[in-house]
Amino acid sequence: MATGVLEGAALAGRGVDRAYAKDLFRRFVEHRDPALREELVGVHLPLVEYLARRFRNRGEPLEDLVQVGTIGLLKAIDRFDLDREVEFSTYATPTIVGELKRHFRDKGWAVRVPRRLQELNLSLNKVVAELSQEVGRSPTIAEIASKVHLTEEEVLEGLDTSNAYAVVSLDAPAGGDDTPSVSEHIGVEDESLEALEYRAALGPLIAGLPERERRILYLRFFGGMTQSQIAARLGISQMHVSRLLNRTLAALRAGLLADEETE
């Protein structure tokens, strides 16, 4: 029952030195060493990239999709049973694809936004990224407007739409075994975040955030870095940093006004 996806996945998996990967797995299963886990991620990244590319014409940057797919990869790595007579790439593919699909389902526009505005918002994402490259800083609304041949008013309308997009439930990736830890360790930053948890009594909320979200929170609000600087450091786009930041804050604030619905 070789579907297109599975065939392609097998192809993408072919680049992997299987004996090497198997040995890594054997050691990982035994010691559960995070360093081995990261190595396994690195080895199988081409598979994630291959699968992510299949979703790339849905308006999300490929880099974001690869990150989402990597979460699926991590789940598959953690659950893979060496005794099963199945190649890891075959085993991991449905998990990775499932994660990508869930991403699109979860990130569906939270508010019903007219198609025209969705498209405007998506094209603005691109233009902002391009212009930032061109001028070496974040562009102004006037600059964006002249680039896309729209009025400033229309660009602003698109910006407001981006907020509808940011209203996404945060309850999905809340800590536990599913939280990926691909990035390097962040000792000092963790200490500050602990202080923050203590001070703000936001403990469980912040502790439950995925590591990347916590890190962005720290770098922006304690590290004095701008969104662009954080984006460069984490290798994602500034718009992506903006989305993650807005989403995280919205979730942290949700508790504050939680009583509203019952009023």
Partner: protein
């Protein structure tokens, strides 16, 4: 450009925060704020309004005043609060957010109102 002010009064409910945000966005665009500065501004408006709404008690409206000068926008958010004299504490995450992304933050407890103000300077004006 002479200083000008926009007054906004919205119902004291999270559902109207988008209006406060949209106004800030439009005004910041006039001041040639960059996309990133506008994003910071929107976060700050959200944060300040949310903090006051969380202390709204029986208050029914939230007031947001925007003061535009050459290169900066000052936002004053206030809410009626006759008997709750505790403004935003400086050791909270909210305060940390506001000070990190704006140029100046202050809070006041007047006789019957709680107020939070912040100032954001644009780099392009």
């Amino acid at each position: 450009m002479p200083t000008s002010t926009v007054h906004l009064e919205i119902p004291a409910s999270g559902a109207y925060l988008s209006v406060a945000r949209a106004a800030a966005t439009g005004l910041a665009a006039q001041l040639q704020f960059t996309y990133e500065e506008i994003d910071d501004l929107r976060i700050a408006v959200d944060e300040a309004c949310t903090q006051l709404l969380a202390r709204r008690g029986s208050a029914t409206t939230l007031r947001v005043d925007y003061h535009l000068a050459d290169t900066e926008l000052r936002v004053d958010v206030s809410i009626e609060a006759p008997d709750r004299g505790d403004p935003l504490a400086k050791d909270t995450f909210a305060w940390q957010i506001l000070t990190a992304i704006t140029d100046e933050v202050s809070e006041r407890a007047e006789s019957d109102r709680l107020a939070l103000s912040f100032r954001k300077v644009g780099s392009r004006a």
